[in-house]
């Protein structure tokens, strides 16, 4: 036990204590009295409620796109990219999955901004992407940028599940008279569903918590919960409730906890057949 003490003290002080402290303060009013008032603006319709809806919409959309495209890529990679090439794709995925943040935002401005390379190229082909409501600084723009790290994250997380499908299972079902379609419908896809759901939750949690990319890209044009917390902290927006930001932060922890509980639950279901 003794050699573990530094670790426990460190995490207790720098991880657990901040979470407890912010939770406690979220129940305090302006005069330091206990209250639920900070949570009221989140639960009633208004800008803060709307921010949670937008954040949830963003994280669900990017998780759907990321998990479907990522699963497709993972399948192709497992099936066709073996050996050295597969290893190269692995490390590229790792780089891209961790590449969220400020540089990513500016790279997409260069490509899909009003003067962007892709925007101009598409215009030459007769498709003006800025003819409608689209801008890179809008909700759709953020979705596009988030795909850049959500898709490779899905590849990383989901590839082991596809690689774990044993060849014998496919052969067995084909020997028993199944068509490849039947094999996927009755064996392959049911086996992959738990891993897929788990990965979806992970992508959802990541998209929900992401701050840097959206902050650098939108500068507040898309109202997301983390961005609003940021503006409250910076004092750019003054609320008559001093500890409103704390309540928003606790709300985020709750959403993320539900998502990660889903991730862990799905992971256990997926592990059931993998070990046997």
């Amino acid at each position: 036990m003794l050699p573990l003490l530094p670790f426990f003290i460190f995490t207790a002080f720098f991880l657990i204590w901040p979470v407890i402290a912010v939770t406690l303060r979220s129940f305090k009013g302006n005069k330091n009295e206990w209250t639920l008032a900070n949570y009221r603006p989140i639960l009633h319709k208004g800008p803060y409620f709307h921010a949670f809806v937008t954040s949830l919409k963003l994280s669900i959309t990017t998780a759907v796109i990321g998990s479907i495209l990522g699963a497709f890529f993972a399948y192709i990679i497992v099936k066709y990219a073996r050996g050295k090439f597969g290893a190269v794709i692995d490390s590229i995925s790792a780089v891209f999955a961790n590449s969220g943040g400020v540089p990513l935002a500016f790279m997409f401005v260069a490509a899909f901004g009003t003067e962007g390379i892709v925007t101009k190229l598409l215009k030459d082909f007769g498709w003006d992407i800025y003819a409608g409501h689209f801008t890179i600084f809008s909700f759709t723009g953020v979705v596009l940028v988030y795909s850049f790290f959500q898709v490779p994250l899905m590849v990383l997380v989901f590839k082991p599940a596809i690689a774990g499908l044993r060849h014998e299972w496919e052969e067995a079902s084909i020997n028993l008279g199944a068509s490849p379609f039947t094999y996927w419908r009755r064996v392959g896809i049911p086996l992959l569903v738990p891993s897929f759901v788990g990965a979806f939750f992970l992508l959802f949690a990541g998209g929900f918590s992401a701050y840097a990319t959206a902050r650098a890209l939108t500068v507040g044009t898309v109202p997301l919960v983390p961005i609003i917390i940021g503006t409250l902290v910076d004092g750019n927006v003054i609320s008559d409730q001093a500890n409103l930001g704390d309540a928003l932060a606790v709300g985020m922890i709750l959403v993320a906890t539900v998502a990660m509980a889903g991730y862990i639950w799905a992971g256990r279901r997926a592990a059931r057949w993998r070990q046997s």
């Binding site: 490390s91 490509a111 906890t257």
Partner: protein, 259 residues
């Protein structure tokens, strides 16, 4: 025979999609970063602006310094912890595992707000407070990296051999265990370094200036320059993470040979 007809259409679709999602933005940004004054011609002008810009070197230096410290502290904390866990502390493993997963669950924004509430004033007054939070953010990855490589070596045998030959615990860890799990250590080291040097959320919410936060401010003056910074950072990240992949591959091969 079905597979043969499907193979190339599938690969083509995947390659086209990958090109669109990944290569096009990279290519676009690179091209943009070489645009000349007023968007005409091609030149190094944006990169020249970058290295002469106010705050480029100081913020880069701060980021490097904090990242090195975070990587060092991380190893100092986690190597003994993980060795003990795998040697004697099995019953604490699920608890430590859970604590190390927590930074993935708790949104970094929430952690930053919590830090503002909870940290004592003397820590909040120095930029070195960031080092501790960089270590926290890196925990999920460090845990995985060290645990994987510790499980590939015969830890008990190594420790017993070293101790029975009269080596102290410190000496055993430094001279026997560390070389044996070199791949995990380099992985943890580079990952912590990479995460720390690119960290934006906690840094900006706690109002410190490092390279990423400086970038956002600089972008407001010169967007082409900001794109040049982004290309510079991205290429740096790719180089760093490729180095991790290379090092950890080599390290794991060594361990296999030794066994």
């Amino acid at each position: 025979m079905r597979k043969f007809t499907l193979k190339w259409p599938l690969i083509t679709t995947a390659s086209l999609l990958a090109t669109f999602i990944f290569l096009v933005p990279l290519y676009g940004a690179t091209l943009f970063s070489f645009k000349g004054n007023g968007g005409k011609g091609h030149s190094w002008v944006n990169y020249q602006w970058l290295i002469h810009a106010d705050g480029f070197y100081p913020s880069l230096f701060t980021s490097l310094k904090l990242a090195v410290l975070a990587a060092a502290l991380n190893l100092l904390l986690m190597v003994p912890t993980m060795v003990y866990l795998n040697l004697k502390g099995q019953r604490f493993k699920s608890l430590v595992d859970f604590l190390c997963i927590l930074p993935l669950i708790i949104p970094v924004v929430s952690l930053a707000i919590g830090a503002q509430v909870a940290m004592p004033k003397f820590l909040q007054n120095t930029q070195y407070e960031l080092v501790f939070f960089f270590v926290i953010i890196a925990l999920p990855y460090t845990y995985r990296a060290l645990d994987t490589s510790l499980q590939t070596v015969a830890l008990k045998t190594l420790v017993e051999a070293s101790r029975s030959l009269g080596a102290s615990w410190t000496r055993t860890i430094i001279r026997v265990i560390v070389p044996a799990i070199r791949s995990g250590i380099t992985g943890a080291l580079f990952l912590t370094f990479a995460l720390s040097i690119g960290e934006y959320t906690i840094t900006s919410l706690l109002h410190w200036e490092t390279f990423p936060t400086w970038t956002v401010v600089a972008a407001q003056q010169n967007i082409l320059g900001a794109i040049a910074i982004s290309v510079f950072s991205f290429v740096g990240a790719i180089a760093l993470l490729s180095a991790i992949a290379l090092f950890s591959k080599r390290g794991s091969q060594r361990v296999e040979v030794e066994e």
